[in-house]
């Protein structure tokens, strides 16, 4: 069975899964189609239909399917692909367990909640016909400052989040920072020299450029 990724290219969580597939050289756009992006029409309630709820009982995108099984939750998907295809493309798990597990969790619990609220308002809502709430943007931009200061200090001493190599911990941050980079709030990253340098490095990766080119932002 071919690889299927159910989601939408405007969804940061779907993009996280696309990013890892591209890092593994599994190409959506090359002849031979290594994976299929299956759009889920949220507007017509596609994510609440029984056949979709069978794949993800929370009724959320993305869902990943390959010959062996199906996975929901974007970070479980990226972990699965990074592990299953460890020998293909870049090894995204080449860091100490302590550093890798820590920064994977930091992304999910410290970085993402405020960052998602900012980029949802500025980047995603305009694409899906909803209006931006600027007071949410300002509120969350204030809150995220202290988190980003911790990242800035960490990246002053570490080339990548989990050490000397690019890993899944860095990759999991990319969709949200990319969407932010298209908005008026990119100074959150741009004004912090080490965060800025790290972002410039990781977003120049050929696999990421392949992902970015297919996105609507």
């Amino acid at each position: 069975m071919a690889i299927k990724l159910h989601g939408q290219p405007w969804s940061n969580n779907t993009v996280r899964a696309m990013a890892v597939l591209n890092e593994k050289g599994l190409d959506h756009f090359a002849p031979g189609l290594d994976y299929e992006l299956c759009p889920v029409d949220l507007r017509s309630g596609g994510h609440k239909r029984p056949e979709f709820l069978d794949l993800n009982p929370f009724g959320q995108i993305p869902v990943f399917q390959d010959g062996d099984g199906s996975v929901f939750e974007s970070r479980a998907i990226t972990r699965y692909v990074a592990t299953r295809y460890k020998e293909t493309g870049t090894d995204l798990l080449s860091a100490s367990s302590a550093a890798l597990e820590t920064w994977l969790q930091v992304e999910g619990s410290q970085f993402n909640p405020p960052m998602f609220r900012i980029i949802f308002e500025l980047g995603i809502k305009p694409l899906i016909g909803m209006s931006t709430n600027m007071s949410v943007v300002e509120n969350e931009s204030d809150k995220i400052g202290t988190v980003l200061d911790v990242y800035e200090a960490h990246l002053a001493k570490n080339k990548y989040l989990a050490g000397d190599e690019f890993t899944l911990a860095d990759l999991n941050h990319m969709p949200e920072i990319y969407i932010l980079s298209k908005s008026a709030k990119f100074d959150l990253i741009d004004s912090r020299p080490h965060l800025k340098a790290w972002w410039e490095d990781i977003s120049a990766r050929p696999a990421w450029e392949k992902t970015a080119v297919s996105l609507p932002f």
């Binding site: 009982p57 929370f58 062996d68 099984g69 996975v71 929901f72 939750e73 974007s74 970070r75 479980a76 972990r79 699965y80 592990t83 299953r84 100490s96 367990s97 302590a98 550093a99 597990e101 820590t102 994977l104 969790q105 930091v106 999910g108 619990s109 410290q110 909640p113 988190v147 911790v150 200090a153 960490h154």
Partner: protein, 185 residues
């Protein structure tokens, strides 16, 4: 923490976000509670419960199921349950006024999540599969407080109730509760 020790320079060296917990062993420091759990499981693969991260016969898919339900816990269960724990347990403890709107909103959000759990636990003994794993375990801290304040949330759902009774009866968890109840000092 009442004296701000979590913001002291020494503590910030261990945990730069100034939060608890932080874990130290002879090799390294780890922070973020789920990272600490995974680190300990990886460090002691032969000790005690060996299926906490899946693996075994199920291999990668079984580990992925644990990751998946641990993510669901972090992304879907924690936001409303933590807001409720804050309102129902901590706000009264500090002598502040509860926010009824926040309680109602978060109970409704949590109810939706628990409905999904109830369905899942009707088909599967534990969240990730047949074995108790980190995915179930991660629910114990907030679950424990929520059930003590409003047991209906969990116990009115047949499968969630069955699951809660089973996981909260585990000896390792009972030891944690004892430690919480023991006099500090």
């Amino acid at each position: 923490m009442a004296k701000g020790q979590h913001k002291s320079p020494d503590f910030l060296k261990l945990q730069p976000f100034g939060q608890v917990p932080a874990f130290q062993d002879e090799l390294t420091t780890v922070f973020e509670s789920r990272a600490i759990c995974k680190y300990i499981c990886n460090k002691f693969p032969e000790k005690g419960n060996q299926t906490l991260m899946g693996g075994g016969d199920g291999g990668l898919l079984s580990r992925t199921s644990v990751d998946q339900w641990l993510e669901a816990e972090g992304q879907s269960f924690i936001p409303p349950s933590s807001a409720l724990v804050f309102q129902l347990a901590f706000v009264p403890m500090f002598g502040f006024k509860q926010d009824p709107a926040a309680i109602e909103q978060n109970e409704a959000k949590l109810a939706n999540v628990l409905d999904v759990y109830d369905c899942r636990l009707g088909e599967s003994k534990f969240l990730a599969g047949d074995d108790f794993t980190l995915a179930d375990m991660a629910h114990l801290p907030n679950g424990h407080i929520l059930v003590s304040k409003n047991e209906d949330l969990f116990m009115s759902r047949k499968n969630v109730g069955r699951w809660w009774e089973e996981i909260s009866a585990r000896p390792a968890w009972k030891k944690v509760v004892e430690m919480q109840n023991a006099p500090q000092g």
